[in-house]
């Protein structure tokens, strides 16, 4: 069991891991890809870089720094987090246990670029199968996504649904799906009266009662929502110690909202590390 698992290898995650390691804690980082930072081409406002540096380069330097400090980097995709006294992180490869978790996955929440999407949020469109799936028992449910996250949601929904569809929305399927029709046409619109009734692709219409969005990799807010942490405007609510309302679950960087800057994320990570160290010391006594 790890003392701390950091989810995300960007500025907040690495910064936290570096401090946690210096506190002599058993820390590891689980991360999938470079996230938002890789989409930044020139960083010119970060301390210590007289020439612009690319997001990819800065990210890779962070990873190198963690590796040089013997912090294990686990290249897996976290699909869900469960907790009792400790935390169990379920990934696409297996499970990892930790006494505390620092969420630093950035802030992306994928919006579906289809007409009517915003109108049906909460009226048939959901981001959380364990939260809302049961309400559509014996109904026809669509899931939008193309990877392991989608399959995870699909497995939950299979317990309730009368019929299921997978919509990859023009993305290649990166997981295997049995016995559920996979529609790869791009979704162009969502229709219904008060409540969602139809998914419209560029080829045809599909009658459904609910649509669950599980595109790409789940974000920190996705885990936090399923765990019962407070979320506001898609940002995780934390206290002055970067802890959520779930003891031992911390978050920092873009996923808690505020200023979307590297300097702020690094600051979050450092401060959260101090708070996590205190929390673990207190729990041990």
């Amino acid at each position: 069991m790890w003392d701390v698992i950091v989810v995300g290898g960007g500025p907040a995650g690495i910064s936290a891991a570096v401090y946690l390691k210096r506190f002599r804690l058993d820390v590891s980082i689980i991360m999938k890809d470079r996230g938002t930072l890789a989409r930044t081409e020139h960083i010119e406002n970060y301390y210590g870089f007289p020439e612009p540096i690319s997001g990819t380069d800065l990210f890779d330097r962070g990873i190198m720094q963690a590796k040089n400090m013997d912090i294990p980097i686990i290249q897996e995709e976290v699909l869900g987090i469960d907790y009792d006294d400790n935390f169990t992180l379920k990934t696409n490869q297996g499970e990892h246990r930790a006494k505390s978790v620092f969420l630093a996955t950035g802030a992306h929440r994928v919006l579906l670029k289809a007409k009517g999407f915003k109108d049906f949020l909460g009226k048939g469109i959901s981001y959380c199968a364990v939260c809302d799936g049961f309400l559509y028992r014996n109904k026809t449910i669509g899931v939008v996504g193309n990877g392991d996250f989608m399959r995870e949601e699909l497995e939950v929904l299979e317990n309730f649904a009368k019929a299921l569809y997978v919509f990859t929305n023009d993305q290649p399927l990166t997981t295997t799906i049995d016995s559920v029709p996979v529609i790869s046409e791009p979704i162009v619109a969502l229709e219904g009266q008060e409540h969602l009734e139809r998914v419209v692709t560029d080829k045809q219409k599909y009658d459904i009662d609910a649509l669950f969005i599980a595109m790409g990799t789940p974000s920190a807010a996705d885990f936090a929502l399923r765990m019962g942490a407070f979320i506001e405007n898609n940002a995780i609510v934390v206290d002055e110690n970067y802890m959520t309302n779930i003891p031992g679950l911390f978050a920092g960087g873009d996923c808690i909202g505020g200023w979307m800057q590297i300097a702020k994320a690094v600051d979050d990570g450092a401060k959260a590390a101090v708070a996590i160290n205190k929390h673990l010391k207190k729990a041990a006594n």
Binding site: G124, S126, C131, F134, L135, L225, G228, I231, E232
Partner: protein
């Protein structure tokens, strides 16, 4: 204490209530609902006499959930004089929940 609302007592406890009623639609398998539970109880305690607080288990009372088109839980609905006046979806802190309900 929050009152357990069923389709049998819904009319009496909610529609005919003399004070506004907050109804929490929840289920035991929903983590966010379980986190909201103590907040709902706190509101019941603090607003006793002023507001009634009830809970609908959507597993047991599927008809009530359908009737109010509950599509995501937790959903908290405020009734005044038998009518829905506001509705809040998702887990919120107590102050935010009361504010969004308009209380």
């Amino acid at each position: 204490m929050a009152v357990k609302i069923t389709s049998e007592n819904f009319k009496k406890e909610v529609l005919e209530s003399e004070v506004p009623v907050i109804v929490d639609f929840w289920a035991a398998w929903c983590r966010p609902c379980m986190m909201l539970g103590p907040i709902i109880e706190e509101i019941a305690h603090e607003k006793e006499g002023e507001v009634k607080v009830g809970k609908v288990n959507v597993d047991e009372e599927g008809n009530l959930a359908n009737q109010f088109r509950i599509s995501s839980i937790p959903t908290v609905v405020l009734f005044k004089n038998g009518e829905v006046v506001s509705q809040v979806v998702g887990l919120l802190r107590k102050e935010d929940l009361l504010k969004r309900l308009g209380l």
